[in-house]
């Protein structure tokens, strides 16, 4: 019997010792707070909380023919939706990688819905709404569909829908956890016919890659023997790049989409923070990441996927993201206790140029991405709940009308 076997038998008692269950000293204060707060009415009987005078008050427009009007409105809405859908179906689509024209931004709301917003006008449209908690939308490369996660009562499901919110279908259920969603846990294949998703696989104890056909026809899990995160599909359509961990050894790996040919892109190491937020360039030739607490080569790295050549850019920062044309990075730097975003050229011919206002470091990670045409950076700050559109060539910064949310995906349109 090992020391731990002895422990496991007594875990409940030892935990009792460690955190004794005592009525806390803030209990009375807590009750004062609850007593001073009003209860929300039950959804099933909201009206009982309304004053009878309000409910019983005769409405001046009560004789309006609401029912026929509503039917006509629904018919008009259905026709308009069908026209929009038809127009959307027949439009040209952009190539799957590289610069594209800017479309709508799809984002998840705090209330568990998914909306689309026109970044020029700020006009929002609800795409997926209802009692379900939906989050983490990710648009396909051709901008015609999006994936999202639906949190059910005791599990979660990977869903797919058309870009206008129609055609919602479930692809898989059960392998996402909330913590999987710190970053988008899936990526579209170049053709849009498949999705690579990272999720728990049980029985077993590793987080693995599952390949799902978006028409629901096939699913397979790659047996890699690694705890996987940050999966990205290369433009060739048959290779995946991802971060992997095994026995506290970390690295970036390449594998064929059929699970064969697993290899480390660069020598693996024991640095838990050695391969942070890896992001693949649009042409699939480079992966950028940040490293910290390494002692020697902290900062932004750019690694050749095929060559394995690792280039340290000599600049402290985090969250690097490639521009669509692969010539620049947007990063977050820390200056005087504040976060400052900056754009730097990859050819080493210039300094990092700050963009946008500074933000207080509240501990929550912002999300950054270039617009499809590379002219702007979409930055969302969960700390203060704001979203910004920042010009990458200086100026034209503006705070967006929609709230800061971790998951925002910018639609790519044909140029």
């Amino acid at each position: 019997m090992t020391a731990f076997d002895r422990f496991e038998q007594h875990l409940p008692e030892l935990m009792d010792e460690l955190a004794a269950a005592q009525v806390p000293d803030y209990f009375d204060d807590m009750l004062r707070r609850t007593a001073g707060s009003r209860q929300r009415p039950a959804w099933a009987s909201r009206e009982r909380w309304l004053p009878m005078g309000v409910i019983a008050r005769p409405l001046l427009v009560s004789r309006m023919p609401w029912r026929p009007m509503a039917i006509v409105a629904l018919l008009v809405l259905a026709i308009v939706s069908a026209l929009i859908f038809a127009a959307g179906s027949s439009r040209r689509v952009p190539p799957p990688f590289g610069p594209a024209a800017n479309g709508s931004i799809v984002y998840s709301t705090a209330g568990g819905d998914i909306s689309a917003v026109n970044p020029l006008t700020g006009a929002s449209t609800a795409l997926i709404s209802g009692p379900e908690k939906d989050t983490a939308p990710l648009l396909s490369r051709d901008g015609t569909k999006f994936l999202f996660v639906r949190n059910l009562e005791a599990t979660s499901a990977l869903m797919v829908a058309n870009v206008d919110g129609t055609g919602v279908r479930q692809l898989a259920e059960g392998f996402f956890a909330p913590s999987d969603l710190d970053r988008s846990p899936f990526d579209w294949s170049p053709s849009g016919a498949q999705v690579a998703a990272v999720g728990d696989v049980f029985p077993g104890s590793v987080r693995n890659i599952t390949i799902l056909a978006t028409d629901g026809s096939a699913t397979r899990t790659l047996d890699l023997g690694l705890n996987v995160s940050d999966v990205a599909w290369r433009p060739n359509g048959h290779e995946l790049v991802f971060k992997g961990e095994k026995n506290a050894t970390y690295g970036l790996y390449l594998v064929n989409a059929d699970g064969s040919g697993l290899r480390a892109i660069a020598p693996v190491n024991d640095l838990q923070y050695g391969w942070r937020e890896p992001t693949l360039s649009q042409d699939g030739s480079l992966v950028t990441f940040s490293r910290s607490l390494s002692g020697s080569d902290d900062g932004i790295h750019v690694l050749g996927v095929d060559s394995g050549v690792d280039r340290l850019l000599g600049i402290d920062g985090a969250l690097p993201q490639f521009s669509p044309d692969g010539t620049r990075l947007v990063i977050q730097r820390w200056e005087g206790g504040k976060n400052q975003l900056a754009v730097l050229p990859l050819d080493g011919g210039g300094k990092a140029a700050p963009i946008g206002p500074t933000h207080t470091d509240g501990g929550a990670t912002p999300s950054l991405s270039f617009s499809p045409d590379g002219s702007m950076v979409l930055a969302s700050f969960p700390t203060d709940g704001t979203t910004w559109l920042l010009g990458t060539n200086g100026g034209n910064d503006r705070q967006a009308s929609w709230p800061g949310t971790k998951f925002q995906s910018w639609q790519r349109l044909a140029p």
Partner: protein, 187 residues
């Protein structure tokens, strides 16, 4: 008055009934929050926020018999939100264990407790939540999964990984204490 009746009264706005319910559960949930967050201030905030949500949303609870599970879920989600808002930064402080034990071998107990403290500290907080639910609150894994809003497979996997990580920590620490340090003596 039984718990169901208290819940129903609290749902109708009887704050005294809610206070009785809160008093019945707050000690254990405060202990759980301290184990997960490992910071008294954060635990206090998470528990207070959870109870505030419970009071405000109590009328929407359809099954009064599920009050305890529902309250537990609110508190744990408040803890998880706290972790996420802090970006998983380490927030490690010493917990305040109870003073001694009148019956057990005190030295051994303190040593075991310290080892457990170290092992828990090294766990990811969201994994720690599963361990706390299962071992500290005695919640079966399917119910723990519901509490945390994760699939049962994920809960099982997290518990399995947590125990493996704790085993590594404890066995390593125990072995290092017994390693010879000089001329055959042991630390």
């Amino acid at each position: 008055m039984d718990q169901r009746e208290l819940v129903e009264r609290a749902q109708r706005g009887d704050h005294d009934a809610f206070a009785v319910l809160a008093g019945a559960f707050v000690a254990r949930l405060d202990g759980a929050a301290r184990l997960i967050l490992r910071d008294h201030e954060l635990a206090r905030d998470a528990v207070q926020d959870g109870f505030l949500q419970a009071w405000r949303n109590l009328p929407s609870l359809r099954d009064p018999d599920r009050f305890e599970a529902w309250l537990r879920r609110l508190i744990f989600r408040s803890c998880i939100d706290t972790i996420r808002h802090r970006g998983r930064r380490p927030i490690e402080v010493e917990l305040s264990p109870v003073d001694g034990s009148p019956t057990a071998d005190i030295a051994s107990l303190i040593a075991d407790r310290d080892l457990l403290d170290t092992a828990l500290q090294r766990l990811d907080p969201e994994w720690r939540a599963v361990v706390v639910l299962h071992y500290y609150l005695g919640v079966p894994l399917p119910e723990a999964a519901v509490t945390l809003g994760i699939p049962i497979g994920t809960a099982k996997s997290r518990l399995h990984r947590s125990l493996a990580a704790m085993r590594r920590t404890i066995d390593t620490d125990t072995a290092s204490e017994l390693e010879p340090i000089a001329r055959g003596q042991y630390a």
